[in-house]
Amino acid sequence: MRKTILHVDGDSFFASCEVSLDVSLRGKPVVTGHERGIATAMSKEAKTLGVVRGMPIFKIKKDFPQVVVVNSNYFAYGLFAERMYNIVRRYTDRVEEYSIDECFADLTGLKEPFWAIGEALKADLNAELGMTFSIGIAPSKVLAKVASKTRKPDGLTVIEPNEVENFLKDLPINKVWGIGPQTSLKLQNLGIKTALEFINKPKDWIETNLARPYVDTWNELRGLSVHDVNTESDDQKSIQHTRMFGMKTNNKEIILSELSMHVECACARARMMKLAPKRIYYFLKTAEFRYHRGEINLDRPSNNPSEIMKAIEVSFKEVFRPNIQYRSSGVTLAGLASGTQNDLFGEVVKSEKSQKVFKVVDKIDKRFGTGTIMLGSSLNANKRRGNTPSRHFKILYMGEVV
């Protein structure tokens, strides 16, 4: 069945929250991030002046003295985000709280015309939250993101399945959700500049030249939904592992190592429950509480951390941005399928071998404490707990580090 996905994106969200709460700011150029010393969000009036995200506050004050600079109030932004999700839930309960200023909803099967739902939702959000949102409706998540970006701010764009090409013909490939700077450079070298040129390549060309996640992106851009809307009810059937970094960091190795540790812990729990995930979600949370996310669809369910890390390392290049400070990370194993230990990895001999390895790992962990033995890629993250694993950890769950 063809899907219909809606994407909601708050316009200048942090700045809009400030304006919504303080009528005296209305119509003025407003910038948030005073406490961090850099602009974290700008109202459209501030954008018009030329203020961009990341601009130092002292420079803004000097160059644009009329700008109102305020401290960020993440508590308030979180409340507005909750209200946004709840308003979207009036139309469908299949809502994914994607980030503080964005969410997805699955409209598949709803009776009303989709543009009517979009207009009604937009009116509700605008009136009740006192700010504008841009909405996109399309046959897949990636296309819904394309749609919501088409008209911004305060826009509503519906991409019908037969209009996809129109929307992609002038869209630079690097503007597609999930295609980062490295891959767009590679694609440009292969002669692909627009999203339309990308989807017009045959599938085997994509498979030959790019890693697995980009086949998903290719399908999604062609209007075939691969990425499901990840609702909370799905979350209950998932295993999550997250934690804050010791300090803010943009060190790629440290962050990858944290992810590796999360994958190992979550996989250990999955193995204990005799489950294996089909989908992996991971996130990096920035110092500004924005989420940079990656999503991986495995060919077959796997609770083998090395296999999952291999896939994460590929997509990580597109998710991680070197000049941004991150504060925490996490991994979610979703689409959990049960199966006996033997047939889970039956297809591949290599996997069978590593399955035996992780059976032993689980035994050692059980006997000597979690983290006694780990992937080399998790080493950095585990160093934070001391060089040698203590045997006095209390084990709450298998895979849970206390």
Binding site: V23, S24, R26, R83, I87, E128, L129
Partner: protein, 83 residues
Amino acid sequence: MTLDEYLIDNKESAYMLRVETDAMQDEGILRGDLIIVDRGATPKNGDLIVALVDDSYHLKRFDKKSKKEIQVEAVVKSVIRKY
């Protein structure tokens, strides 16, 4: 029933404001009171509303027949006063 349920109709569109005027004391709303307003509600004739006048909020009675264009920001739903 909780106080929230009693005082708030629509959780997503409810906001709290502190009254900083004596103009509404004949209506039983005093300076220092908290009012809960609904930003999404459509005002009916005679409703207490928050209107935007000269870039600031003002409490008024909504008058449908009034010729003066006013920008309605929210409808007042409840008043809270603490002694």
